[in-house]
Amino acid sequence: MAQMNMIEAIRSAHDVVMDRDPNVVVIGEDVGFFGGVFRCTDGLQRKYGQHRVIDAPIAEGGIIGAAIGMGVNGLRPVAEIQFADYIYPGFDQIASELARLRHRSCGEFFSPVTIRTPCGGGIRGGQTHSQSPEAIFTHVSGIKVVMPSNPYDAKGLLIASIESDDPIIFFEPKRIYNGPFDGDPEKPAVPWSSHPKGEVPEGYYTVPIGEAEIVAAGDEITVVTYGTLVHVAQAAAIALGVDAEVIDVRSMSPLDVKTIATSVNKTGRCLIAHEATRFGGYGAELAATIQKECFYHLEAPIGRVAGWDTPYPHAFEWQYFPGKKRMMAGIRRVLEAE
């Protein structure tokens, strides 16, 4: 075991898979010589060569289109989109091509592309470096969508994603690259070495796609969340002295309905939290699923804490971000509802 932050864990996942499978190639803006703007691919080009870690032109649609073609020709491409906010030029290639290729060719052609992309706010990134567009992708049949919340899961999920024959969008909540964040920007940063999930095996392992994890067991309320807010939810529950069960969804599609439903049936109360804007967000899918599975056990309406339905602001980040204050208010609201 080693101490790793999420960046090191993601880099290690690449290294492990590239060492095992010569068909794994990495392509993206600044990923090669420089090792990525967040350093997630640092050292890989030196180790595996320029043919396997490829610096790409600034053309997200081209990166994904080319990655699809590489995958059709037997490679296993990992495409990095530098910020999730930049993914939209590649959306047609993802939604119309990558997602549907297997289906439209009845399994004759497929392309096992993994698209890694840093998402989420909390870094003073303004509207073009803070978005959480996961629901846009969970809505597309044919792709899978995951988002780890810690180094251990990041490495295991990334290895599982690269090895999967299904195309996967791998969201990396960049606020927690270097340490868990409890949603209070006034507090000093905490490193991953202080967190049990900062302990990461150096070699090969996987975290299965499609499995949620109960990160804190409790009886009073279930908080269903993912990414950075997993840590915010835990901190909020502790601050309130509430015995909350916090579930890290990890895999948005496929969704581990069983783990979530079992928990909500037990607690009878549920708060859903995500950074992305609320209206039409992934929380709506979660709420619909939970009310169907848990209707007769629910003691209160399902609550949602999410980004406001505005573009992500620069100056008013902490009024916008569903941080500790908003999470505490959300938990209280669901607990107090009759």
Partner: protein, 421 residues
């Protein structure tokens, strides 16, 4: 003096009721353009992107440095493939008009593109086609009956009812699945070619878009990536003059030929008479050799004319002169190769007519067979539950439960036709 801006709206040379006008089309005489060595530098061969490579002249003789000197028997086979393509299209068009398939697109006037280029590529080269490249599938061995079954969405449909008619694929024939979204296959072809080079193989990729789709971002992504990585790929623009009702000027073809689009990136461009099978074959072979030997991409513009409608849903009489196709100065690819073979003493009107009849019978026999696997109204029908297959390699549970739900609903209504209505 005040400055005054001016908005230029491209105008088609001729609209309905007007006399066809192709004066905008820059032509070169057959045999006029030099054939450079395959390692020529892009800047030394810019003339190829503005001139027009032609082999067959007005008297149906083959001439000049691009003359591929193909065996006449081989040319006869090429003629047969083009005629099969057209016969198939004519039949499928009628079948659509009879309401027996939902949609069709013909390649009339553009057959030399698929057949000439198909002949110049090797079987291991990967094709990323557009929707008017059905000739490629035929040439690479997809049976007519299988293409018809695809159009019928019947029990033998390679696409299992998931795709519009004509969106074929063949893994064994190395032709990619047709998307229906325009231009998306272009960067994919470049990625495929990059992978071929990464793996150290000598297979190349080829892709096709129309003049209209060159305006898509994917076209520019593909050119950039192909140039940056010198990918072994042939990027073809089939300039058939029309993108539904918009003429090629609206896609940006008024001032510079599409073949010149790559020059700024250092990609050589060749503008070729797309209705001259010999020239099409010859330039494609040149580009393929260049790519295969590490010379990188070539952009080929095939100047042709969409003699038919865009699709069965289109009516070209609403936007271009009725006799436009007949006035197109590069003629018809089948007629030109036929006349060349006759001029060479290797073909005759009688043989041609006999072959036409033979091909019609072949297509009729295929249609008869195709219907045995089901039509839109007569069984056998595909099981609609198969729509849930192949969405994922490892499907989520929700798809299985939705499949069961769909089956419950459709087995209870008792119409017994497997959900076809």
């Amino acid at each position: 003096m005040a400055y005054k801006s001016r908005l230029h709206i491209p105008r088609a040379a001729a609209r309905p009721g007007e006399k066809p006008d192709f004066s905008y089309l820059q032509l070169s005489p057959a045999g006029a353009l030099d054939k450079p060595s395959i390692d020529a530098r892009t800047q030394d061969i810019e003339y190829l992107s503005t001139g027009l490579v032609r082999v067959l002249d007005e008297d149906h003789e083959a001439k000049g440095p691009w003359h591929p000197n193909l065996d006449l028997d081989k040319l006869q086979v090429a003629l047969r493939w083009m005629m099969l393509n057209r016969t198939f299209d004519q039949r499928m068009w009628q079948i659509q008009r009879q309401g027996r398939i939902s949609f069709y697109m013909e390649a009339r006037g553009e057959e030399a593109v698929s057949i000439g280029q198909g002949m110049a590529l090797r079987a291991g080269d990967m094709c990323f086609p557009s929707y008017r490249n059905q000739g490629l599938y035929m040439y690479r061995g997809v049976k007519l009956v299988d293409m018809m079954c695809q159009c019928l969405s019947n029990t033998r449909d390679m696409c299992k009812g998931r795709q519009l008619p004509i969106m074929y694929h063949t893994k064994s024939g190395n032709i990619f699945s047709i998307s229906g979204n325009l231009g998306t296959q272009y960067p994919q072809a470049v990625g495929w070619a990059m992978a071929s080079a990464i793996k150290g193989e000598d297979h190349i990729a080829a892709s096709w878009v129309g003049d209209g789709s060159t305006a898509e971002a994917d076209f520019h992504y593909a050119l950039t990536f192909a140039a940056v990585y010198q990918a072994p790929v042939i990027l073809n623009v089939v300039n058939n003059q029309w993108a539904i009702s918009t003429f090629q000027g609206t896609a940006g073809g008024e001032r510079r030929p599409f073949a010149a689009r790559g020059l700024g990136l250092g990609i050589p461009g060749i503008r070729v008479d797309g209705n001259d099978l010999l020239a099409v074959y010859s330039v494609t072979l040149w580009a393929a050799d260049r790519a295969r030997r590490g010379g990188g991409p070539t952009l080929i513009e095939l100047v042709t004319y969409r003699a038919g409608a865009h699709s069965t849903s289109d009516d070209p009489s609403k936007y271009r002169p009725k006799d436009d196709a007949a006035a197109f100065p590069l003629g018809d690819p089948i007629e030109r190769l036929k006349q060349h073979l006759i001029a060479e003493g290797h073909w005759s009107e009688a043989k041609h007519a006999a072959l036409e009849e033979e091909l019609k019978s072949e297509v009729t026999a295929a249609w008869k067979e195709a219907q045995k696997y089901g039509t839109m109204t007569e069984g056998p029908f595909l099981d609609p539950a198969t729509m849930f297959d192949d969405v994922y390699a490892d499907p989520p549970l929700r798809l299985e439960s939705q499949r069961r739900r769909m089956q419950e609903i459709w087995s209870n209504n008792g119409n017994g036709n497997g959900g076809g209505s």
